[in-house]
Point group: C2
Chain length 191, copies 2
Amino acid sequence: MMKLTEFPDAASPRRRQILEIAARLFARNGYRGTSIRDIGEQAGVLGGSLYHHIKSKDALFVELHNAALDAAERRIADAANRHVAPWDRLAAAVSTLVDIQLDPDSITLPLMNDFRDVPEDVQRQLSTRRDAFEDLFRGLVDALPLPADIDRSIYRNLLLSLINSAGDWYRLGRMTPSEIAAQINRIFRHG
Amino acid sequence: MMKLTEFPDAASPRRRQILEIAARLFARNGYRGTSIRDIGEQAGVLGGSLYHHIKSKDALFVELHNAALDAAERRIADAANRHVAPWDRLAAAVSTLVDIQLDPDSITLPLMNDFRDVPEDVQRQLSTRRDAFEDLFRGLVDALPLPADIDRSIYRNLLLSLINSAGDWYRLGRMTPSEIAAQINRIFRHG
DNA sequence: CCTACCGATCGGTAGG
DNA sequence: CCTACCGATCGGTAGG
């Protein structure tokens, strides 16, 4: 449950600290809702001073986004690979992604959700990495014995967008993330 | 398929025209992504001139949001009420909401999706109207003969967030909105 | 509906 | 890492 090294490739401890601060702010307030001055404030310096560590706000966001997907992809693949039956493999992946998305301290993932908040040229830089992430789920879904009248591409998109937007309505207390995941797996299990 | 009077309570034709322009821009570019100057430009005037017709950007957005939910709620209730069996009623509601969300010319609904893009005090103004909208689906879901291990509140939230985020991945061509709706209804039909 | 502006905020930079 | 700025953009207003 504890995160130890979120950004292993950070080049210096100070830079890693800045990356972690920035990731938390982006996750909480979105791309446009987070200013360079906000990040500087939490890091104890003025906004302009950050440009010693980063090239631009865009480049910073892209770096955080890709590192977050790397970490998520590793955790999800590990969880799926502890099982062999197709439905079990998907259920493990869903449960892990739900955990990541609903963790209130998650630095990792809410970055995925802000796609349309981001400038268009940044979107283009992110989309390759996102496509690769989706391939993980494509493989899991393609292995399912689904009824013939369910389209696997639609099924995968529905499932992913549902999980990625779960943070919008989830409020702590009533149910745990793993109970939410269990409900999702029940609804999406067919045939 | 044609929209005739999107804003029946507009007070003047010019004001209605401005509301329609603003709704389209908010739907396309989000709350923060739409400036008062953008709206003025499309209306053929300078941004400041709009303040003869509106009180503030916030009040404009709230008005558009509530009018959009009024129109959506009417369409969805009408569609559901053409049926009696619970699963048919839900399917009709889902299909109508999907149509609204995926219509590329829709003024009506993508306003719902930008919740976290909007300032907090505006969020508070919108939430009452949204809760009432959700009650429509609450009634439809509560009438379903669902398996006992599926939580109706979670089921409803998952279904609504899934439909509301469908526009994020849907691209025209491969499938029509009603085919998407049919897939959703298949996946969410149980018991 | 325009002119002309306000105070605030933004990403980013030069020069030290 | 700071000082001191830049050009751009924002919502909104006074006065006509």
